[in-house]
Symmetry: C2
Subunit: 189 residues, 2 copies
């Protein structure tokens, strides 16, 4: 069985290029249903391999007509993260993220941004990395990060290792998800 | 170790209610990076447990301000699937899906629909179920499925067991994804 440079077993599947070792940290279904959006992180940088998994998850995301509209600005520089956190009252927590990934689009496509964001957040979650997407004022993000005016700034996603002491959601959003029976209609509405 | 009704080992994690056994078919990272959109399926109904995993993946998806805008119309009735496939020149393949899940929203939020779609498609992929999202004319979908006019119809996602003989993408979209180096910008654009 092939083994990656870090001693992990590499499962079968397609080869997506160098550095893309498979992680076996978590079963797919568990990652999907357990993932909760997190805004509180440990003050610890992400492992390079984990960040690469997250970005590769973004890269491999399917897109409408295979147009691949998403580009990623990966912010690790602390002064820039602090500046980002200062751009929005509801986004202050971004200042303490280990990494902020800005989804920039060559053409506006919110649905495809959502697919890409979910893939990146799940890949992080499977490695103990929490995340949450946030809106920031687009013109100010563009200025801070030098993003050309002809591109669309979609979301900023903050990533960082989950802080177990602060992982529970605030009481205001801690209610369980709506039950399946209320959510699902069979064959007709 | 707890074992599900179907003899599978249930991994640790939160309890999301009855019927939500964890699947151990695939590692999270592999599911995320290997998933390709599929429009050709085997003529076989989905296992009930697999469909429930897919719908639960949709249910557990995070949403902006935790507003949970997504509702799901699950179409298995063959005449309705055939009628759906007749609504769009590019969506004819939907007629041969085992299940079509229509994402209906209580308020328009394309990004949250994308997150939900990706979660459902990954949960399916981990079980050998292919999928692809598609746009259909909204008024006609509403009429066909009795969806009230005050709701937003976002996407229809077709699901079915992958047909290995028809799993390769058509030549027109078979190019590899854009490489990470072209996609990612570090700290600034």
């Amino acid at each position: 069985m092939p083994v990656s440079a870090r001693g992990r077993v590499v499962l079968g599947g397609q080869d997506h290029g160098p550095g893309m070792v498979a992680s076996r940290a978590m079963d797919a279904y568990r990652a999907i249903v357990d993932k909760r959006d997190q805004r509180a992180f440990l003050p610890r940088p992400l492992a390079e391999e984990t960040l690469r998994c997250i970005l590769t998850a973004g890269r491999m995301t399917g897109s409408s007509k295979n147009r691949e509209p998403n580009r990623l600005v990966v912010v690790r520089d602390r002064p820039r993260l602090t500046a980002l956190g200062g751009l929005s009252r509801f986004g202050r927590w971004m200042a303490d993220a280990a990494v902020a990934v800005v989804i920039v689009q060559t053409e506006r496509h919110e649905f495809d941004a959502g697919r890409c964001a979910q893939n990146m957040m799940l890949a992080g979650w499977a490695e103990g990395v929490g995340s949450c997407p946030a809106h920031f004022p687009e013109a100010e993000v563009a200025r801070l990060l030098g993003i050309p005016a002809d591109l669309e700034i979609n979301r900023v996603i903050g990533f960082g290792y989950i802080d177990p002491a602060r992982a529970a959601p605030p009481a205001s959003v801690a209610r369980p998800r709506r039950p399946l029976d209320e959510l699902v209609h069979w064959d007709v509405w």
